[in-house]
Symmetry: C2
Subunit: 222 residues, 2 copies
């Protein structure tokens, strides 16, 4: 038996995505389910970060993951190994998820026994930033090899996120990444953003990230 379902989600029929997103948040509040929308470029380490996050929090809360991809089930297989509930969403070529698509995903996942749901969005720093998914909080990952100038080039994404994980800090010695410059660019766009340097591979910073998440989930579900 397969460890997860694959769901083909369709482009939303709703004209007003913002309204649909607000409706979804109200439903999540009633169901006591916290939804995190996790975004980044391809290959910045979303899935590895999720694995470390699930390992840190799975004994305290019931976690469900939606893996959105244009194609392939690679990430759902990886997450299924953690024991978390997982569903693979195929976007049929779509470069982002909107609130209607996220709702289809949540219905496929089933939220009645989920305290903390995570949407791993399509790897893309442009389009996902333009669509409110209905998530309670937006998180993004920028990895060290991508360079510290990315906030200058993809400003909207950095502006709409509540938290930025700077991942792969274990390879910092091999790249010209200026963490202070990065923080400066990001906070200029978004003074309230929380910035947490991590290495999903070595586990560095995962405690701080888990503490932040624990606090958010507790607040939302109380």
């Amino acid at each position: 038996m397969d460890k997860f379902r694959v769901l083909e989600i369709k482009k939303s029929v709703f004209e007003n995505n913002d309204r649909e997103a607000n409706e979804l948040r109200k439903e999540l509040k009633q169901e006591k389910t916290f939804l995190l929308n996790l975004m980044s470029s391809p290959g910045s380490g979303k899935t590895t970060t999720l694995k470390a996050t699930i390992a840190a929090l799975k004994d305290e809360m019931r976690i469900g993951v939606m893996e959105a991809d244009i194609d392939s089930d690679v990430d759902a297989h990886t997450i299924a190994e953690t024991g978390a509930k997982v569903i693979q969403l195929h976007t049929g070529g779509m470069c982002h998820l909107d609130a209607g698509m996220t709702k289809q995903g949540l219905e496929g996942l089933g939220t009645e026994n989920i305290d903390f749901a995570i949407l791993e969005n399509v790897g893309n720093l442009v389009c996902p930033a333009e669509f409110d998914t209905g998530a309670v909080k937006n998180a993004m990952i920028l990895s060290v090899p991508e360079g510290h100038d990315k906030p200058l080039k993809y400003p909207l994404m950095f502006s709409i996120c509540d938290v930025l994980l700077v991942n792969k800090i274990d390879v910092m010695p091999y790249f010209d990444f200026d963490l202070e410059a990065c923080k400066r660019y990001v906070t200029k766009l978004n003074p309230n953003i929380k910035i947490i340097p991590i290495s999903a591979r070595t586990g560095e910073g995962i405690d701080e990230w888990s503490n932040w998440l624990r606090e958010q989930v507790k607040q939302w579900n109380s």
Copy 2:
């Protein structure tokens, strides 16, 4: 005086992008200008690769570069230092370029004295793959830190490119990147693609890449 112009390009008014792209290629053929469309994720090293490419070829041909970005002029400043002709294109939030937008960029750049024009597309593995820009050849970069599984997750991009540069091979020892698996995934999607491992930083592989480009430019402009 600024070293380059900044051009705000508008969404194309043409209904039929494929026809517009073919028209543009015909014009480029008449003008003896070879156009390369360079695509990748954010931070995979497009601009650094361009710098190395310009250094290798600038004494043999007249090179012009269009730097497409949602915002910022960071890359145009970098390319202007090489001495190549450069123009910054701002897409106004658009996540890709189509043939009409590329044509606006080429008109802004001026192709009458350009043998080899390069479009550095928006950093995005999804949307740019869906739009023929009118380029003669499509190239993409996958960098080692992004991981060898990307062809499985963004198959269209790997399917429509003529050449794949696997960049940042100098940091291969610090990442779990399986080059043979990557080649296997890519050639399954696209048996004719040429794959060249490079390090834009150290210069490794730039000779092979330059030789490939020289051959393409010569063939097109003859």
